[in-house]
Amino acid sequence: MALLLLTQLLNSLAFAMLLFLLALGLSLIFGVARVVNLAHGAFYMLGAYLGLVLTNALGNFWLALLLVPLGVGLLGVAVERFLLRGLHGRELEQVLLTIGLGFVIADLLRGVFGAAIRSVPPPPELSGPLFLGAFLYPKYPLFVLGLGVALFLAVRLVLARTPFGIQVRAVTADPDMASALAVPPARVSLLTFGVGTALAGLGGVVGAPLIALAPGLDAQMTLFALIVVVIGGLGRIEGAFWGALLVGVVDGFGRLFLPQAAMFLIFALMALVLALKPEGLLGRRVA
């Protein structure tokens, strides 16, 4: 029983790290560009399928892991530049546009790759289990777990220490004042959009071996990311991290003990947070 719980805990944490990647991008983009990107799950799916194609074509998962986020990020940059910027300051229109974009991407993927469910094998280096005495556990989720924690620390460091990180935080707090100090908000916003969508694409490549690809997964992942940021608080990476952990664990153990009601548990969690602290657990009140 203890082993079962431990296994489930690790599974949940690995899933939580995927959610973190998504929520992190969503949160960064919202903070800087003030856009709730509801195409986020579609970017995840795009990353997953592109990863699949590239891994097969190049025969190398690691190369795909590097290239796909780059490509998805570039697409994100193009979307910001050509579709969203013209709607600057019109929140509702921007959100609706990202929804539309999400549907378009998801349906194009369905058109190209079909509606069949695809499971993706982990790369050979990471397939198979790891033996820890009597306990054996697949390597791949551990890799995802490690990657997520490493990214969390890295992004925190970038935001805390690098000029770009400080610019991102300044634009998030007060874009006008930042521009009066020679920070170009439009460029910061463009780059952040690229980084955010690249993170979603990365999530897709990393997540495909964990969660089988199927139509509708994009909506599922967008929804999870939204719930994480609502719970954790929008605009803060700590909020995305701890929110993702909470949602991941509740989801994992919910599936184990109350398989019918797992999804419902997460919504109950969200409702509880909203009732007690509408700005999210670690959130600041947004005017």
């Binding site: 400080i166 707090a173 007060d174 930042a178 100090l181 020679a182 920070v183 439009a186």
Partner: protein
Amino acid sequence: MEALRVEKVSKAFGGILALTGIHLSVQRGERRAVIGPNGAGKSTLFKVISGELKPDQGRVFLGGREVTGLPQERVARLGLGRTFQRSSVLPELAVWENVALARQAATGQSRVFHQPLATDARVEEVLEQVGLSGRAEDPAGALSHGEKRQLEIAMALVQDPQVLLLDEPLAGLSGAERERIGQLILGLDPGITVLLVEHDLEYALRFAHRVTVLHYGQVVAEGDPEAVRENPEVQEIYVGSGGALEAPPEDASGGAGQETVLEVEGLVAGYGGMRVLNGVHLRVRRGEVVALLGRNGMGKTTLLCTLMGLVPLKGGEVRLAGKPLGHLAAHRRAELGLALVPQGRRMFDGLNVEEELRLAAWGSRGPWTVERVLEVFPRLAERRKSPSKALSGGEQQMVAIARALLRNPSLLLMDEPTEGLSPLMVRQVAEVVRTLKREGETVLLAEQNVQMALSVADRVYILEHGGIVWEGSPWEATEAVLHRYLGV
């Protein structure tokens, strides 16, 4: 009978104490003016009374009933009427609908859903009273700035409030509108208790039975208008402090060279349909400190923000070192050598002092470096790891000035750097400006603290109703001039 009572109310925003232990007792039917310089806490006090903000400490009573911490709609239903600093009407509804809705809200009829909204005798009467009967059918958004004020007053009056809070009802109005609305407020039903925040001191003293003077979050004087007018402490606050006027230097041009840094010609700017500035002309020469004076709402901040590119230019031309700036974005202007010390200091939420400075210093070359700035402001070196929002007002002002200096600007725009600061901090800020002057920086300083501004400036402009109305040297700015344009 007491209409309003405020007991030991305190409110802080981050490291800034906006209100510290305020007491206020207003009798029924009283006319009370609340005066004080910008940032003294007047608006915060109004927000706490009306329930928009919760005080950190202290209690508020309306007609003997405690209302501390109630949501603002409850406080309003208990008899508190209010107008906002920025005119606030419902632009897509007709004028009469604005008033009728306010009426329905006061009588608890807003919920009615089975019959159309209709005007009634009281609505007509109030529209007549404020002089808007002729425009009843127009959408409120089409009204002029002054008419919107009239409408807002009508919306408050039709609710028959016990206590009416008027937050700077004359700010930003032109002469005729000012006169009209001034008369309207003077003629209000004597049964209503009125609290007025107003920067036009003359008007406030004429209006009030009693006057409360706020300064950096405290009540520093209270009494009838004459006593307050004669109170030397109040005079100092109002005229300002920060050093005596130095004797005119031998060379009347000061240390300034003849090279023009900034040239503004016929500048027009505003927000939405509202024109705040209407043809401003001014110039700043290298090494000069130029003071921009003017009452609140006359467009000082708008002018500096337009120069910085934060408010769009609607007409005229701005040249920096001979180069027209046109509609350049703010960050491009910053690269060309403009830097702004903004009103309210605008610290970045989530950044610490060092990060604020590094952000500004990035990509900027010149004599001002982070190290040098920290030498000039040793207090900031001590607090370099503190979140900037948690600093006191004076420390935040230092950060804001340091940030702008780190841009190594050819022109430093300073917007009300003494706002909300204690007299001690005001003197320090004045000292900083003098230091900058000695260092040869060029500064355009918008200031309400007249004395401080005159003590540091080489030249003075006075802004009124969207244009420059007076120009000269500090020692030419006699009491008569100041009284005429600034009301001090």
